[in-house]
């Protein structure tokens, strides 16, 4: 199995609390690896360390064989890691397509291009539309971002991650706050991405996780207590005890 992302001995504490406690994890290429765990287990802290907004106290993060533990956030995105946000984080003053076009533009080495109007660059538009089609938002492209529903905002988050052409997508609770039909739609979108993208998914929605994941890791109090296929996790005694709440 070809590993895209390797995390070893990752540790991060806030005061006396170990938010991340000696986490070891391998994410294989073109797999959907889900991380589940109760509230406060340190899932978002983990994502923040992987995307570079938080610096770990100890441990190593390796992406495509390169040590990125100390690489700043914006450079990690350039290397091919993108993240979505648990709390929707978009450019609400811009239109839907402008948001996604900015993500496409981020593929360029730099954007110190001062002359041509961005909206006239067909490559940015076309690629943005492609990403929007994949999440089913093409018909909303010209709308004001602020005018979209919460569910559509969650889909935009995925479109932005897609548009960067990242090889690893860190998705932080894409289902957060979605109703049943919206959740179904999101599962469908992620199902479509699975075969072509490597995804590290953090999610509370167990139906979604067990439907989508190739591998699941269970994070409790900053520690990974089990990793395995959905079937293995379902039957793992320690997991049932600690997390799924069964005797």
């Amino acid at each position: 199995m070809d590993s895209l992302l390797t995390i070893s001995g990752l540790t991060k504490s806030f005061g006396g609390v170990h938010a991340t406690n000696d986490v070891n994890l391998e994410v294989a290429k073109n797999q959907l690896h889900a991380i589940i765990g109760p509230n406060g287990a340190g899932k978002t802290t983990l994502i923040s360390q992987l995307s570079g907004t938080l610096r770990p106290d100890a441990g190593r993060i390796t992406f495509e064989g390169r040590d990125i533990t100390a690489t700043p956030a914006y450079k990690r995105a350039g290397l091919g890691i993108t993240r979505s946000f648990q709390i929707t984080s978009l450019l609400s003053a811009m239109s839907v397509i402008e948001n996604v076009a900015l993500a496409v533009q981020a593929r360029n080495k730099h954007s110190f291009r001062f002359v041509r109007a961005a909206h006239k660059i067909s490559y940015l538009r076309d690629e943005a539309m492609r990403a929007l089609e994949k999440v089913g938002l093409a018909h909303r492209a010209g709308e004001n971002t602020a005018g979209l529903s919460h569910g559509e905002h969650r889909q935009m988050e995925i479109a932005l991650a897609l548009a960067t052409n990242a090889r690893l997508m860190l998705l932080d609770e894409p289902m957060a706050g979605l109703g049943p039909t919206e959740s179904e739609k999101m599962i469908e979108i992620l199902q479509g991405l699975k075969s072509t993208h490597t995804i590290l998914l953090i999610e509370h929605d167990m139906d979604a996780v067990f439907a989508l994941a190739d591998q699941i890791s269970v994070l409790v109090y900053g520690k990974i207590i089990a990793t395995g296929t959905p079937d293995e996790i379902r039957s793992n005694v320690a997991v049932r005890h600690a997390y799924l709440g069964e005797e």
Partner: protein, 322 residues
């Protein structure tokens, strides 16, 4: 063509046609007023690149005006009175080059530090740097200290005589049009989109892979250099250059102009400067306390009309925020 573009063209057409009429009908004073307006508008346009498209509320832009003006005054001074042969010159190209280069460098050095902060801290630190320059020039006795410096020869250009008020006016007007075009082009470019993105949600832009700091710093340098250019023009206009040109109130006035007229638009800062110059002229003829009604007016515009006066007249204003 939408309404904003029509307003832009109308304002620029008025600025092109009215001032010559003033002088031909014997109201030379109003040409002076228009020249001041246009030069301050260039400074406001430069600030708008930061404030309107980058969300950076620089409270130190007066320093760029002052440095730009002294870049005209000091070479002229030495050309008249000798010493410091290296910079002594009346040549306009040289003086303007000096103004732009030094303000760009000053913007780069101070920007590297200022842009590590945000919000109120950014406002305070930009103001602190401007005050530093202000007191530096006050302490420079050679150039008159706080009494300032009178230049007896304006910048010299081929085919152009800045002593002729109409020449000076049109030179400033064309400069303003160019500045507006530059800022408009930048704002719509890929660079401009990144800048606007960083204003709206910096965390998201970093997550997408943008080193927002570098983009903001670049905008800061462009803005500073453009404002320095405006300062060189202002020095030529007043022919009297003193630290007072870069007092902190001047920085505040530039912010007024941008916000009052409409930040983040091409013509907004020009409308703001126009209103500022006119209101200053009108109110100050009634009372020396003209800042008070002016301040009240500004508060009303900010509270009632998002997008400033341009928002109001172009019908794009939403009252209140969300």
């Amino acid at each position: 063509m939408d309404r904003k573009q029509m307003i832009t063209l109308a304002v620029m057409a008025a600025l092109l046609i009215l001032p010559p009429l003033f002088i031909w009908t014997g109201y030379a004073f109003y040409l002076d007023l228009a020249t001041r307006l246009v030069i301050l508008a260039i400074a406001a346009v430069s600030l708008n690149l930061l404030l309107g498209y980058g969300g950076m509320a620089s409270f130190g832009h007066a320093a760029f005006i002052g440095i730009g003006a002294y870049a005209v005054g000091i070479p002229a001074y030495h050309n008249t009175y000798g010493e410091f042969e290296l910079v002594a010159s009346y040549n306009g190209f040289f003086q303007i080059f000096l103004a732009v280069a030094i303000t760009a460098l000053f913007a780069l050095i101070t920007g590297i530090i200022c842009l590590r902060t945000k919000g109120v801290y950014f406002i305070m630190i930009t103001m602190a740097f401007a005050q530093m320059v202000f007191y530096l020039f006050i302490s420079l006795e050679v150039y008159g200290g706080d009494d300032g410096l009178v230049i007896d020869t304006r910048s010299e250009f081929p085919l152009l005589n800045l002593d002729n008020p109409l020449h000076l006016y049109f030179f400033s007007f064309i400069s303003l049009a160019a500045a507006m075009l530059i800022v408009r082009t930048i704002a719509r470019s890929q660079f401009g989109m990144v800048l606007k993105g960083a204003m709206g949600n910096e965390e998201r832009m970093i997550a997408l892979g943008y080193n927002t700091y570098a983009y903001k710093l670049t905008a800061y340098v462009i803005s500073g250099a453009m404002c320095g250019y405006a300062g060189a023009l202002l020095g030529n206009f007043t022919t009297f250059i003193s630290p007072e040109m870069m007092g902190w109130t001047r920085s505040g006035e530039l912010m007024f102009m941008v916000i009052l007229g409409g930040a983040g638009s091409t013509i907004g800062p020009v409308i703001g400067s126009g209103l500022f110059v006119l209101v200053e002229e009108l109110l100050s003829s009634f009372t020396i306390y003209w800042h008070l009604p002016f301040g009240l007016m500004l508060i009303l515009v900010v509270l009632l009309f998002r997008g400033g006066l341009l928002g109001l007249i172009s019908g794009n204003s939403k009252s209140g925020g969300h």
